[in-house]
């Protein structure tokens, strides 16, 4: 019997010779990451554990991105805790306010390689499956344990395979595929399981779209999302990151899956997840015309260069509707600089949009862009729970960057075709 890519990565990081779904195994971790919200609790637990050092200071990154630049006094204290920790324990991979979003920095800096096993103190750590790594999020105490031991216990997840066929239509990308998929299986449809994305459509996707898909695997409850590395992955690692030394795992033909889902996406239209669940997937034509107050473009889901280019294509020579606040935040400093160089930032500012500092605050109603009672946003982020971006009665509609940009211009939820 064969193994899937996820099972192969787990096997190569554990002492046991055979695994099956449901087994609890202890694995060696290649890299860990934390931020300014899960981090301070981890630091407290790490010290309570009596740990004297981080298992490997080269293999940990601390990225301050959630409430930065310091939103208030308590955020300032949290960031200070992390800054002091990095200094005390010698963590050089330290990224202070404005550097970018953790799940963008992690792959930009080469901390993620295909075949790696990565644990992060944030649920969207699943993002790196887009490069063929096994990565998953944990809470603060779990992360403190890995900081001390370099190991963690994991339950081998059941394997789900998603095969996408057909020809992907214009204006449809990774974001639409994942929203559609969550709509099909529900927000607990992959609970505790692996979502392996495959098929001709996935092979055609750019790395950014693959990262977007894996990023939202958690919204279906998944332990990890993953895509087999291919030529595009190798090209990305070599050209963009400058790394060629890593292990490529592929699923065996006789690997066992608990279930396989096949989707023909030839007729799929851009998807919108309506409040209050990422699983409430609808075709954009079902919701066009709904008035909005805010548009958010960015985040660990859709804050990469390709996403900004897509938004710029729509916003070029157009104006954001006077009743809409459009907030655009590049995923990292590197992306910000490149967007400047390409003239994207000019396009955004000329359109009437505002540029925010790379970070996570807007996405979770934590810092900037908070919605008032009854307000409505179209956002390229990943969650639209009750009160996610502000008041309990406010609403978030999740979409791809092109739909968000078109909606910003029209002042209502709109299809990109309406403005180009």
């Amino acid at each position: 019997m064969g193994y899937t890519i996820t099972e192969k990565i787990l096997l190569d990081h554990t002492q046991v010779k055979n695994i099956k779904p449901g087994d609890i195994i202890q694995v060696d971790v290649d890299f860990i990451m934390t931020n300014d919200i899960s981090g301070p609790v981890s630091v407290k637990q790490f010290e309570k554990m009596g740990a004297k050092k981080v298992f490997d200071i080269e293999r940990m990154a601390i990225i301050l991105d959630h409430f930065t630049p310091n939103k208030d006094l308590s955020a300032a204290e949290a960031c200070k805790t992390m800054r002091n920790f990095a200094e005390k324990y010698g963590i050089k991979n330290f990224y202070d306010a404005g550097s970018g979003i953790e799940h963008v920095i992690m792959h930009e800096k080469g901390y993620v390689k295909p075949g790696d096993l990565i644990i992060g103190g944030d649920s969207h750590t699943v993002t790196y499956g887009g490069l063929g790594a096994f990565s998953t999020g944990v809470g603060s105490t779990d992360l403190a344990g890995v900081m001390a031991l370099g190991k963690i216990w994991l339950k081998v997840p059941s394997q789900l395979r998603f095969v996408y066929k057909g020809k992907i239509p214009e204006w449809v990308g990774g974001k639409d595929l994942i929203i559609y998929t969550i709509g099909q299986i529900g927000t607990d449809g992959a609970r505790y399981k692996t979502m392996e994305f495959s098929g001709e459509v996935i092979k055609g996707l750019e790395i950014e779209d693959r990262l977007t898909m894996c990023n939202m695997a958690i919204e279906a409850g998944a332990k990890n999302g993953i895509i087999e590395p291919d030529d595009k992955t190798e090209c990305y690692m070599r050209e963009e990151i400058g790394i060629t030394d890593y292990r490529v795992y592929k699923s065996d033909d006789d690997a066992r899956y608990e279930a396989t889902f096949e989707f023909d996406v030839s007729n799929l239209e851009p998807q919108v997840a309506v409040p209050f669940s990422p699983g409430n997937a609808k075709g954009v034509s079902e919701v066009t015309g709904i008035p909005i107050d805010q548009v958010v473009i960015g985040s660990c889901t859709n804050g990469r260069l390709k996403d900004l280019r897509e938004a710029a294509k729509i916003l070029k020579n157009n104006k954001v509707h006077p009743k809409v606040r459009a907030i655009i935040f590049p995923g990292s400093k590197k992306i910000y600089k490149q967007a400047l160089k390409e003239g994207l930032i000019d396009i955004f500012i000329n359109s009437g949009a505002m540029i925010a500092i790379p970070g996570c605050g807007v996405c979770f109603g934590g810092h900037m862009g908070v919605l008032a009672e009854g307000e409505r946003a179209v956002s390229t982020t990943n969650r639209n729970f009750v009160g996610r971006m502000g008041h309990k009665s406010s609403e978030v509609f999740l979409s791809n960057p092109a739909v968000a940009a078109a909606s910003a211009i029209k002042g209502v939820i709109a299809h990109p075709e309406e403005v180009v």
Partner: protein
């Protein structure tokens, strides 16, 4: 250990933004977090919780973010146990790690109403609804997880591991 308390009942997919809204995530003090427990679900909910109360939830309880602040707030608010049809993965790990007893039992969800008084034997997972005089058997905990609980949570578990490895290296 026997836990007994009054029940608050919730539906499916109770997310961590409902349990602890994102705006409070820069706080890490448990007592402060407790003041906002379930505020995203109902504004005045924190005032309703009494020491020993039990939460009963539907499927995918605690879905969403990895914020350990959510189970910390529940525990610090005085909630003694959470029973659910199923738990979201990260919430489950977090709860176990900080010593918040969690039990999966779909039948109990169906057979318990808000306000009922419920008793749980944490050793064998037997759940008794004292109000309705019915009982349910929760899924037993895997041995590995029992080890962590027996150690007193993950902090103690790792502390022991570190002590042992130092002894070996000496």
């Amino acid at each position: 250990m026997i836990i007994q308390g009054r029940v608050f009942k919730f539906g499916d997919d109770l997310d961590t933004d409902a349990i602890l809204p994102g705006q409070y995530l820069s706080i890490s003090n448990p007592e402060e977090l407790a003041k906002h427990c379930m505020e995203g679900y109902q504004q005045d909910f924190p005032q309703k919780i009494k020491q020993g109360d039990i939460f009963v939830g539907g499927s995918n309880f605690g879905c969403g973010s990895s914020r350990e602040h959510a189970p910390i707030a529940i525990k610090a608010a005085g909630v003694s146990c959470v029973i659910a049809k199923s738990f979201a993965r990260i919430f489950y790990r977090n709860g176990i790690n900080i010593g918040l007893p969690l039990f999966e039992c779909a039948e109990a969800y169906e057979g318990i109403d808000e306000g009922d008084t419920v008793q749980i034997d944490t050793n064998n997972g037997l759940i008794k609804n004292l109000t309705k005089a019915t009982q349910f058997q929760a899924m037993p905990l895997p041995d590995f997880i029992k080890d962590i609980i027996m150690s007193g949570g993950l902090v103690e578990y790792v502390k022991n591991k570190l002590k042992n490895s130092r002894r070996i290296s000496l």
